[in-house]
């Protein structure tokens, strides 16, 4: 199916139609998610209103992980099947994923302060998320560290795939480390059980942020395609100038 999308013109035509739909879904789910999250959902019996932070924290966390997975898969398409759009998709995903992992850390910190009294807790989830942030950072830094962009793309893609292999191991080892050092975890960030009424805004926000990411990724890929065309045109006109005057 992805071969079919490889042609940039076809890609542009299809996304031209889909983009408004994606934006529409984003706005609808965002507004309803915010409404239910902030107004129409119950307070937690332990955490009170503070549980509402969950409606931005958990979707960010989920999206940060999912986007990294997508990033690695996109890199596989680039390296193995040499799909022409795959690299553009990878470089579009990376900053968005990095932002979500950073947001997870900040909202996690803001949630932790009223709950546990400190601005940061080295619990397994937050620590893994911190490492994931550095996986993203490594990808972004490496892809920009070479003279030719293509070298950066290829090496960073390998890094992303190695990262994907390592990520479950890192998550496991951090979980392991955490249980070794904290025999009894009292309140899990998220509460021992989630009320059904809380599930709705949570799912809505996950959808909202997912479709938002999708919209941005499509937009960025299109922009990069246009930039490539501009580069090609500039190169052509430079060559023509040189051949005229030379």
């Amino acid at each position: 199916m992805f071969d079919w999308l490889a042609n940039p013109n076809r890609f542009n035509r299809i996304t031209e139609k889909i983009q408004p739909c994606i934006l529409f879904i984003t706005i609808i789910t965002l507004i309803s998610g915010l409404y239910f999250g902030l107004f129409d959902s119950p307070k937690d019996y332990q955490q009170g209103d503070a549980v509402r932070i969950m409606y931005v924290h958990v979707p960010s966390a989920w999206l940060a992980s999912f986007l990294y997975f997508s990033l690695a898969i996109s890199c596989v398409f680039y390296l193995v099947w040499k799909h022409p759009l795959a690299d553009l998709v990878s470089s579009s995903i990376a900053p968005i994923g990095a932002l979500f992992s950073a947001l997870t850390l900040v909202t996690g910190s803001l949630w932790g302060k009223p709950m546990w009294g400190t601005w940061w807790v080295w619990d397994a989830r937050l620590t893994s998320m911190l490492v994931l942030f550095f996986f993203y950072l490594g990808y972004i830094l490496l892809s920009n560290a070479f003279e030719r962009k293509i070298d950066g793309s290829k090496t960073a893609s390998v890094l992303a795939i190695v990262g994907l292999i390592n990520l479950p191991i890192v998550k496991f080892s951090v979980d392991w480390w955490h249980t070794l050092h904290q025999p009894a975890s009292i309140i899990k960030i998220g509460g021992p059980s989630i009320d059904d009424k809380m599930l709705l805004p949570l799912i809505l926000m996950i959808f909202a942020l997912s479709f938002f990411s999708l919209y941005l990724i499509v937009l960025n890929v299109k922009t990069k395609l246009i930039e490539k065309k501009c580069e090609a045109l500039l190169l052509k006109s430079n060559l023509e100038e040189i051949s005229k005057t030379g």
């Binding site: 915010l34 909202t107 246009i226 930039e227 006109s237």
Partner: protein
């Protein structure tokens, strides 16, 4: 929306910054991407015109 909504049981200094930060950063990313897209489209138009 009475007082208690905004105060959120005293957690408001944690809840509102979380939401505002999230929405603001996503909004900024949106604006940035849109601007880049428009800039690229304009450049393409210019280049195609001068070619023809």
């Amino acid at each position: 929306m009475n007082e208690s909504f905004w105060i959120m049981q005293g957690y408001e200094i944690y809840i509102w910054p979380s939401y505002v930060l999230t929405l603001l950063s996503l909004g900024l990313l949106f604006v940035h991407s849109t601007k880049q897209s428009q800039k690229a489209k304009k450049l393409l138009k210019q280049l195609s015109k001068t070619k023809n």
